[in-house]
């Protein structure tokens, strides 16, 4: 068993290994790494895809960050959306997961119902919600206008017993047609997809060992204490994951804004990716769009790093303490 025979085997394995990962490797070079390099170059050019790119240095970045009100608006819209949709979504899906974890009968049905919206094509969802938000005939405003609030004592009118009622909101907003209420409409719509995060939380909740809860009960812990001291820490990795995914996700909002409002009214729903698309495929300013993509990359990187760094303070990894797995 001399050295030559060993290296021949190792060489054979090396070839096989590279053959296996070759599809990915090629794909990485052609569809990821190459484009990344190319994209850095384009970001520093003025390019409308018909004429060759013209190098202009950092002018795109300068214009975006300091001189373009629509870019600032895109950032504002996306961040505002994230600030509202993320906490609501995270808490909402956690709550639903906790409810579902209670061993109620028909749990599978509930789980299915909550999860389905997350599976549907974005364009179909956008269309349905556009109809829901229709100011005159959409079901939301119809509901808000309907007289459901009791406003007086029951009495007889024409021989029939009636209760005077008031509408929930007599003049509901025109949602997607107004600059003030368009973005909140998107936040509401995002809550419909709460089931996506809920499933992940459910899995996390179910992996919490019940002995912890039993031990706490023996010590006389109240449900709130159990939640704060056991549930929350044990699912903090899941919250962390959902948070990171949520931040990245809010910068990927495209189809709904493209289909429902086209960025308006008055740029109130000009999401980042939508503006990038417009710059690239409607205004044919590919260089500018590439610059936007890199700015986005930096933003996401910074956000993720910040979340990572602070995670040491609030994310609890059992594996670190017990050293298992």
């Amino acid at each position: 068993m001399g050295k030559p025979r060993m290296s021949r085997l190792a060489r054979k394995e090396a070839i096989e290994g590279y053959v296996c990962i070759l599809p990915w490797l090629l794909g990485f070079l052609v569809f990821t790494f190459g484009p990344m390099i190319f994209s850095i170059y384009i970001a520093m050019c003025d390019w409308d895809i018909i004429n060759p790119p013209k190098f202009i240095g950092l002018a795109n970045f300068q214009q975006a960050l300091f001189d373009d009100f629509r870019f600032a608006q895109a950032i504002k819209v996306t961040i505002t959306y994230a600030i509202f949709a993320l906490p609501l979504g995270l808490t909402g899906s956690l709550l639903v997961a906790i409810l579902l974890n209670q061993n109620v009968r028909g749990m599978n049905w509930f789980r299915t119902i909550f999860y389905i919206p997350a599976v549907l094509p974005g364009i179909a969802v956008a269309m349905v919600w556009r109809w829901i938000f229709n100011p005159e005939n959409g079901i939301l405003n119809v509901f808000l206008r309907s007289k459901l609030i009791p406003a007086g004592l029951p009495h007889f009118v024409h021989g029939k017993l009636t209760i005077p009622t008031l509408p929930v909101i007599p003049e509901p907003p025109a949602w997607l047609a107004t600059p003030e209420w368009a973005l909140p409409a998107f936040v509401i719509m995002s809550l419909w997809g709460i089931g996506g995060g809920m499933i992940i939380y459910l899995a996390g909740l179910q992996s919490i060992p019940t002995q912890l809860y039993e031990a706490a009960e023996i010590d006389g812990a109240s449900p709130i204490q159990k939640f704060r001291k056991i549930t929350l820490p044990m699912i903090s990795p899941t919250i962390f994951f959902n948070l990171v995914m949520g931040v990245i996700g809010s910068f990927q909002v495209f189809t709904s804004s493209f289909v429902m409002t086209g960025g308006g009214p008055a740029y109130a729903t000009l999401f980042y990716l939508l503006y990038l698309y417009q710059k690239a495929f409607q205004y044919f300013q590919m260089g500018y769009a590439a610059a936007m993509a890199w700015i986005l990359f930096v933003i996401i990187l910074v956000c993720t790093l910040v979340i990572f760094k602070t995670s040491a303070a609030w994310v609890y990894y059992e594996a670190e303490l017990k050293g298992k797995r």
């Binding site: 590279y18 794909g27 094509p121 590439a290």
Partner: protein
Amino acid sequence: MSKTQSEIRNPKSEIRGERIRKKSTTERTAKTITYILLVIGSVLILIPFYWMVSSSLKDPAMIFKSPPEWLPTQQVKIAVDGKECGLSTLAVGGQTVKVAEIIDHGDGRKTVQVLKGQPNAGQTLTVERSKLTEIRRVAPKGENYLEALRGGVAVPPDDKGLMRTVREWKKAQKAEAQESSVGPRLGEITLWQCIKDWLMSHWPFALYLLNTCTITFIALIGQVASASIVAYGFARIRFPLRDFWFIVLISTIMLPPQVTLIPIFKIFTSLGWYDTFYPLTVPAFFGGGVFFIFLLRQYYMTIPIEMDEAAKIDGAGTFGIFWRIILPQAKPVLATVAIFSFMWHWNDFLGPLIYLGEPTKRTLALALWSFQGEHATDWHLLMAAATVVMLPLLILFFCAQKYFIQGVVISGVKG
């Protein structure tokens, strides 16, 4: 807070090794509240679905009625002198009688005839529309779906069936360069083009469905095949720089796709692949998505290596092990990958938006978008189309729930 905790030894639970406490009232109220909240939540989630389906089955006139109805209804029709008329009630002389609307003047007035068996039977009156109360019955208008599937055209452009069109094409083919009676161009196009044209003018959504299926299934096969092989390489084979490449793989998950969007677009257009299905299917064969590779690798690593070794002793090579041991074991995860791949490609909107141009090449997602452009206020049609596009996924989800949940769980909890 004192709770009654009496440990009841239940024989069934003894076998499972549990101890069951007698449920206290606080627990029962907690359960009831939970149940109520879940039911309320479910109803809220289901309302958009209900609204979509009921709108899709409504008569267009009813869509804009305010307040809207919960169930789709249509006016009852009755035949008067061989003509179909709407049935309504009208207050005549202090009494409410049933009348048939025989003429609609179009300016807010209608001529009605009082029906037989009532006071003033046979009498015709012309009244304001507002004085009439339509008699309606619950009747979903299924024709909306046909109209939607035909691309919003209520009546097909011509009566020619597919078979007749194909026969005409064959005739035109034989006639070759001669001017044939069925149209000079018919002989010059391929059979597939002929079928596509017919579909496009009669049942466009069938064509869009075909396109979407083609793209989705090709991409699905590509992703499953290439991801499974690449993951095998990372999981089971030792080769130099393996860990380095794996870290590279992981870090690409963090890369927002926007960064590579434009260069990739340029690459595909330079290849002449604009307005073809290639940009949407070919990338799937090159690694099949980092996420799936990661998922599969994690799963492969839970397969006991002894099985590999046993196969090796029996003379299997690396690929033999892959084919005979790993793949069969990995069926659950492969199913999950397949399902998520299907879902992703079926729902993809930006991809087809960027790369497809010709109407005949549209996918369902793109078709919905242009449908909305053409029929911005035909909500009944829009909702019917949306329902149709959602349906395959709903069916898939119901059949393969287990794999959906499983996939999400593995990625979320272990990710």
